[in-house]
């Protein structure tokens, strides 16, 4: 019952909002190049679906690649920092300072260095998703209490065994929490990358359509982008449940 209302309630709210939007556009006779009605957006979403899909696959690939780079990079750094306090003191302030730099400022440079292809966008997505992964994974590696580590040591476990059998599995729940934040940020990152310079992708499509006053297509691209984001988030949730199946057993 709760599950059903969990799906129906937001749907009803969305429907109400769309009706208000549709009604307002029709009532005030707003030009479609300022604000198109939802029905118009839906129509262009359907008619331009092949093109939207073509651009969505590019964006999807950039985000996935960015997540992989940001995820692996962030997790590796978290591990390195955990085992080396000196590295932690050296690296942490720099990482936090780097978060003050807007990705927008870096994206054009990446285009200059890496060209117009997939890579600069993936790197922007990785840069933006990297931070939550580092922070969460570092916390996760510290979860096991000292007694458990001592128990391992008293059993003669090596540092490597303590890492593999204790710290790594203990850090997975927070790693996934970090990755879930990273997914949503990576969507933003990839789009920014495409705005700065691309010839494919939903961000590129938005920019092009905006210039042609095809606001309906901008909205259709936004809709497609949120679908991409939701798919990625859902996929990550499925992986998380598989990996952390012991958590759902209370």
């Amino acid at each position: 019952m709760k599950r059903v209302t969990g799906i129906i309630a937001p749907m009803v709210l969305l429907l109400v909002l769309l009706c208000v939007w549709e009604g307002a556009v029709r009532m005030f006779d707003t030009p479609h190049y300022i604000l198109p009605a939802p029905s118009r957006i839906a129509a262009s979403f359907v008619s331009h679906f092949p093109s939207l899909l073509h651009h969505a696959t590019a964006t999807f690939a950039e985000i996935v690649l960015g997540l992989l780079i940001g995820g692996f990079g962030g997790f590796s750094l978290a591990i390195a920092v955990y085992y080396s306090p000196i590295l932690e003191r050296a690296v942490y302030p720099l990482i936090i300072a780097s978060q003050m730099i807007p990705v927008f400022a870096v994206a054009p440079l990446l285009i200059v260095w890496m060209g117009y292809g997939l890579w600069p966008k993936a790197v922007v997505a990785a840069l933006i998703g990297f931070f939550p992964v580092v922070v969460n994974a570092s916390d996760g590696l510290r979860t096991p209490n000292e007694e458990t580590a001592e128990l391992f040591r008293s059993l003669g476990a090596s540092r490597w065994q303590i890492f593999c059998k204790l710290r790594l599995p203990a850090s997975l729940p927070t790693l996934f929490a970090g990755l879930k934040v990273a997914v949503t940020l990576s969507v933003v990152g990839a789009t920014i990358g495409e705005w700065v310079g691309a010839h494919r992708g939903l961000g590129y499509l938005m920019l092009q359509s905006n210039a042609l006053l095809r606001v309906d297509l901008v909205f259709a691209a936004i809709l497609m982008l949120s679908i991409v984001g939701l798919l990625l988030f859902g996929g990550l949730r499925i992986i998380e449940r598989r990996v952390l199946h012991w958590r759902g057993t209370n």
């Binding site: 001592e150 003669g156 203990a170």
Partner: protein, 249 residues
């Protein structure tokens, strides 16, 4: 005396640094013979856990020495069960139990078979594939004990393994622990603050003083086994010990 399993000689330990050093152990000396059960009893915060961790090889002594068996200070000769819950939530009960053999890379199927036998004896049959979060407090503690027994060490160091349990569960587990011990004949060093538990299970009770702790009294428990909680003899000794502990304060 060559048949001592654990030998602690003039053990001294302080925490903190510089002028702020707090002495915790003050030249503690005792021996535990092979296959016997010794219990450390003392007021809370007196350094019982510190002493156990030193015997386990997890802490360095400031003075004196500790040896297990013939060789001095090899930690892997004793299995240590910490006070706090140390079961791994991502492993099933069975996989938690065989942790030690996994760390030592012994045969997995042998370990499982052996574990299943102990599960049956500890009344955990049928719970092998559940996760710790699905088990009750008493079951979790039994599982932790099974894991300790399965470490194949001759010396077991148990830090208040039954401390957090309710009275009935505790009594049941004491009986279980005793029956497993009398069959496997391991050397056990138990830390507890429960006087009755100490008298019910051990051959020898070491009463520690307040911090800095030293051995106030070494008491051999001569009550014949199996012991009865309600026996007059046990109650009498318990009364004496309690009085001794209260005088410490």
């Amino acid at each position: 005396m060559s048949n001592a399993a654990i030998r602690v000689n003039q053990a001294t330990k302080a925490f903190g640094d510089g002028r702020e050093r707090i002495p915790v152990l003050d030249s503690i000396t005792f021996e535990v013979e092979w296959g016997t059960w010794t219990t450390i009893l003392g007021p809370s915060g007196c350094g019982k856990t510190t002493l156990l961790r030193i015997v386990a090889g997890l802490l360095e002594l400031d003075g004196g020495d500790v040896s297990i068996g013939a060789t001095a200070g090899i930690p892997s000769q004793a299995a240590y069960l910490p006070q706090r819950d140390t079961l791994l939530p991502w492993r099933t009960a069975l996989d938690n139990a065989i942790l030690a053999s996994e760390i030592e890379r012994r045969s997995r199927s042998d370990a499982r078979e052996e574990a299943l036998d102990l599960f049956a004896r500890f009344g955990l049959s049928g719970f092998e594939d559940l996760y710790p979060s699905q088990l009750s407090g008493g079951m979790r503690q039994r599982l932790a004990l099974i894991r300790t027994f399965l470490s194949h060490r001759d010396v077991l160091l148990l830090d208040e393994p039954l401390g957090a349990l309710d009275l009935l569960t505790r009594a049941t587990l004491q009986d279980w622990l005793f029956s497993v011990w009398s069959e496997l004949r391991k050397t056990i060093l138990l830390v507890t603050h429960d006087v009755e538990e100490a008298l019910l299970l051990s051959d020898k009770v070491l009463v520690l003083t307040e911090r800095p702790a030293h051995v106030d009294r070494e008491l051999r428990v001569e009550i014949p086994r199996p012991r009865d909680r309600s026996s007059f003899e046990l109650a009498k000794t318990k009364g004496q010990l309690l009085r001794l502990l209260l005088e410490e304060r």
